[in-house]
Amino acid sequence: MSSAEWQLVGFSLRVAVASLLLLLPPGLALAWWLARKEWRGKALVETLVSLPLVLPPVVTGLVLLQLFGRRRPVGGWLHSAFHYDVVFTWRAVVLALTTMSLPLFVRAARTAFEEVDVKFEQLARTLGAGEWRVFFTITLPLAKRGVLAGTLLAFARALGEFGATIMVAGNIPGRTTTLSVAIYQAVENGEDAHAWALAGVSAVIAFAAVFVSEQLQRRHR
């Protein structure tokens, strides 16, 4: 493995972590809303959130391209107002990873929140806690295991993301090329040894993530 290849791994890890940071606040909020509240149109929200799980990733990538392209609604505004480009930059990679991993995280976190008995939250309220305090001191700690499992799942998904990424960020070596994309390109170029080396790294990281996740769950049992 050359230094270029290690840089590639470093980049993939960095954007996966960045996507985690980006998806945690909205992910936790969504998971909590879906777990605790009822409202008209809830089914619609549930469907929208689950969509990236079921749609072909390239379709999700296409939708992102339609929104964040330089001439499109969001991308155009960002470009003209802040000279901020999304497509074909690392930001597009983070965007794609966040979009694809969010539904997985929300599902896991929602289940975790649903398993927290509401009576604890209610008792906390009688003791004078406001909603934010109830969430951070009662709900979240009691849902810790499930939320963590969801985070690891999201991380693994982000690392393996390909379809949406290649659509919206392309494959620019050193700037948007992730592990998965690099493996694909290596095969395209007929560079089998290179492809296998990268695939090996990918497998090792995935193994480590799942292993840690399993250990965490076991310790709490």
Partner: protein
Amino acid sequence: MKGPILTANFQKQFPGGPKIVAKDLRIGGGITVLFGASGSGKTTILRCLAGLERPQMGTIAFGQESWFDSARKVFQPPKKRRVGFVVQDYGLFPHLSVARNVSYGLQELPAAERASRVTEILRWLGVEDFEHRLPSELSGGQQQRVALARAVACRPKLLLLDEPFAALDLPTRSRLRGELRQLLRQLGIPTILVTHDRLEALALGDEVVVLHDGLNVQHGVVHEVFNRPVSLAVAEIAAVETIQPGRVLSTQDGLATVAVGEVRLVALAVNLPPETSDVYVCIRAEDVSLMRVEKLESSPRNRLAATVRAVAREGPLVRVSLDCGFPLTALLTESGRAELALCEGTEVLVLIKAPQVHLIPFQR
């Protein structure tokens, strides 16, 4: 006489479920027991008072504070009501130590004061040794005390206890009942306690509110309510052992003569509406005296000949089923029964004082 501390008048309808009505509820200081069978709405009323459920309409006021007013769209969330709440299985936060559970409601205090208040309360309840333990490491009784500690640590204005003994076994229950009464007395916080256990109501409550089918039907001092139920429903809820239909034959000098089948009984006619004819006759088993031979000094106005139909031990007491012209239940100690040598078929004399024969007019 002090005015009520809490007044409530509300309705809560569960979609596709029961309707709970708190009609003109007035709770004073001291310990008030909300008494009723399971499903009678006691817990719902308690939760509405705490702010954990929201009634469809009505009002709840604590002193001058309006906690809920559907007409003026007022609703104080639990946070603002300063109510201590203890649930059936205590609800101690499983991930926090005892000390942190108890200090949860004390965030407004500076850290030092918080710590000292926690220690003080734990010591007072006798659980200071468990300060750093997790709730899962405590026994049921210990958890109950910690839950109580947590609820009273922030000096609430009102304390609500939902079946505090439901999660404990019988011996622990009887042991802790007396202790709890003492504790509550010492605290001096107006308390509302929910239970379906008559012994708990008698042991703990100053006043009792009886609930039947989601509606409060009688309110008063505990033993008065249980001895003088105003309706058949309350009599059944209060587990009066003998309830028989009867007819008032005549009333004179404050006494009424009632016929139950062929038997004539004398009862007090106070509070009996004039022209009452059909009544239910209620006699508590502990008010029935039995003897083999009549003593001339005895004063009860009701003397009946009866035959023992069955004798059943109930712990330290004995339930004696008699036939005196109608089915009658008496409660004696085992030694009393032995002294009278009662067994199936024995002929005895039943004595009941007139005030202990309670009449409930028929309600059509």
